[in-house]
Amino acid sequence: MQEINKKQESNTKEITNFLTDMKQNVGDDERLVSAIAGAGLVTYGISKGGLLGTALSLVGGGLVYRGATGHCHLYSAVDKNTAAPSQTRVHVQKSVTIDKSQAELYQFWRNFENLPQFMNHLESVTVLDDKRSHWKAKAPLGTSVEWEAEATGEVENERISWHSVEGSEIPNSGVVEFRPTTNRGTEVRVTLTYEPPAGKLGSWIAWLFGEEPSQQVAEDLRRFKSLMETGLIMKVEGQTSGRIAEVAEEKSKVKTASA
């Protein structure tokens, strides 16, 4: 009986903690994004109506609450805190395993001019000399950024590292490592560090528009794998569908008219 009472007591305590532990654990940038996205969802949910609309509004309401109070119950449940002071530097690490030898992968990567073939955000890379190269990348909202990079070290077939030279718009550095496995091909690990133009908020906004760096690196690596293993990157853009049926009909009408 005593034990049961104890258990009840601890349950009550947990619930009280849940309700009263309202310390800020959501960073200010993230609060802003959370509030904006939440408000958007509420509006969309209400306009859509129905069960799904209601559910979306509820989720949106939660995000607004999180933005307004700076407290996220989920974060406190998993002990996460994005309000703690953090650097504006973005750090990304991603890996992929490719069924090719270290040497094949290393050689392809080592010619930096190959990189835009699978790094979609890169417009071009021009090798200037043994050490230096000029990089041009797409930036959010149709703009672009350029910088010069310098190779800082390489171990043949194993790793390549580089950083941008002094005074770059986006100071950045990176390492790619090629590690053999017993019989699974080669593990390729990319580590990127860079300072986005508008700090962490910039990276959050980029995430909303689908250009978040860690997602971007993951997709780049997947394309690298596909290119090396199959010789191509599978695409469906440009295929036919019923969505362009009307266009086709229009065209055939024009043809008939001109004939």
């Binding site: 069924d99 794998k225 293993e229 469906v236 440009g238 036919t240 086709a248």
Partner: protein, 391 residues
């Protein structure tokens, strides 16, 4: 060209769309001579599979003639007659090399949705939603086939379309389901679902040496067809008989050695758990109905195998893991590793071990597809397998 397009839940229409074109160097364009509607197309029709978009071209069971080739395809030539597997595979990744073709790493250009929901993505599929790659399907006059140097199987002269069309999905799918049971001498295999995959699973189980096969459904016409096709088959109509009691009776109290769920996520039934599944799926509290799977787990003998060729997409409620654990069951499931089965099953057809034509119930023109979807969805007893002719 004309193509069958998904326009929304319970709404397909035949649209005039642009002809497909080569997008990658390993593509081919096939002029379709025969295509079929699959039971899993009804999951799309009934709105159970997320990430469909209005205007998507349906169809993943098709065959035809090569009319155009990408620059890297050297093993095919224009005019070749081919059957195309519904799973798309590159042939050179870790999984393809391991014969796990439906787990291909490089054929789904839209992997994010599956990675979010499943952790990893499987291979791309024709005409089966954007989370499966968003590839245009083959219920059309022409189709683009990616990795055409790996997938399409050349068909020798002397075989009719209808004899080999089902190598594109349902025959290998039924066969893999039976092979996954690891059938031993004296085994009894129970199969839930007398649709085309269940029908092929019955034949495959006998081909692989099962002593007794029991087919469970509540559509009499389908059960009768299977009985006519397989002399020694036992059947159970679950509307008239208790499945567990009957299975025990047929196996001397042991239970079947293997159970195959060839039903998938739109299971029917009128027991309390099945009705609860209906209610929950209707208000989005669960995505999949699994009455047949629960029963298969319950009936399976200790240490037996449950093999699942039926399609599941999301989350299962009241999954009896306790029974599975308590009996030490083995589970085998997944999309079919098509490329591994097609050549040997073509041989089985050539050697007259099986004639797949028996599953066909309707032969129609492509333009009749909207009516066919509607009827196939409503009249399961008589509408079993629809073959469409586009030209």
């Amino acid at each position: 060209m004309k193509a069958v397009c998904w326009m929304g839940k319970h709404n397909v229409s035949v649209e005039n769309v642009p002809d497909p074109s080569i997008l990658n160097s390993r593509d081919a364009i096939i002029k379709i001579t025969s295509t079929a509607i699959c039971g899993s197309d009804l999951h799309l029709y009934n709105g159970f599979i997320p990430t469909m978009e209005q205007g998507d071209i349906l169809g993943h069971e098709f065959m035809g003639e090569v009319v155009e080739l990408g620059s890297s395809v050297t093993n095919l030539k224009k005019g070749d007659r081919v059957v195309v597997p519904f799973t798309i595979a590159c042939g050179s990744c870790f999984f393809c090399k391991k014969d796990l073709w439906s787990a291909c790493d490089n054929s789904n250009p839209k992997p994010t949705a599956q990675e979010t929901v499943y952790g990893f993505t499987g291979s791309g599929l024709f005409g089966f939603s954007h989370m499966m790659g968003g590839f245009a399907g083959g219920q059309a006059e022409y189709v683009r086939v990616p990795f055409a140097d790996v997938g399409p199987l050349k068909i020798p002269d002397g075989l009719e379309d209808e004899q080999v069309l089902f190598l594109s999905d349902i025959f290998p799918t039924g066969y893999q389901a039976a092979e996954n049971c690891n059938i031993q001498e004296g085994d009894t295999v129970a199969i839930w679902g007398a649709g085309p995959v269940g029908q092929f699973a019955v034949k495959s189980a006998f081909m692989l040496g099962a002593e007794k096969v029991v087919l469970i459904d509540h559509y009499n016409d389908r059960l009768e067809l299977a009985q006519k096709e397989n002399e020694n088959l036992e059947t159970i109509n679950f509307d008239n008989e208790d499945v567990y009691t009957k299975l025990l009776d047929l196996t001397g109290g042991r239970g079947p050695d293997s159970c195959i769920d060839a039903v998938g996520l739109e299971s029917h039934g009128s027991s309390p758990d099945a009705l609860l599944d209906y209610a929950k799926a209707a208000v989005f509290l669960a995505t999949d109905r699994l009455h047949a799977l629960r029963q298969a787990i319950y009936c399976c003998r200790k240490g037996g195998t449950v093999s699942i060729p039926g399609v599941y997409g999301g989350f299962l409620d009241k999954f009896p893991l306790g029974a599975a654990f308590g009996k030490g069951l083995t589970f085998k499931m997944g999309q079919t590793n098509m490329h591994s089965y097609m050549p040997r099953l073509l041989e089985a057809i050539q050697e007259d071990k099986i004639d797949p034509r028996f599953v066909i119930s309707h032969r129609l023109n492509l333009s009749e597809a909207p009516m066919a979807y509607d009827q196939f969805n409503k009249e399961k007893d008589t509408w079993r397998k629809v073959v469409l002719k586009p030209h």
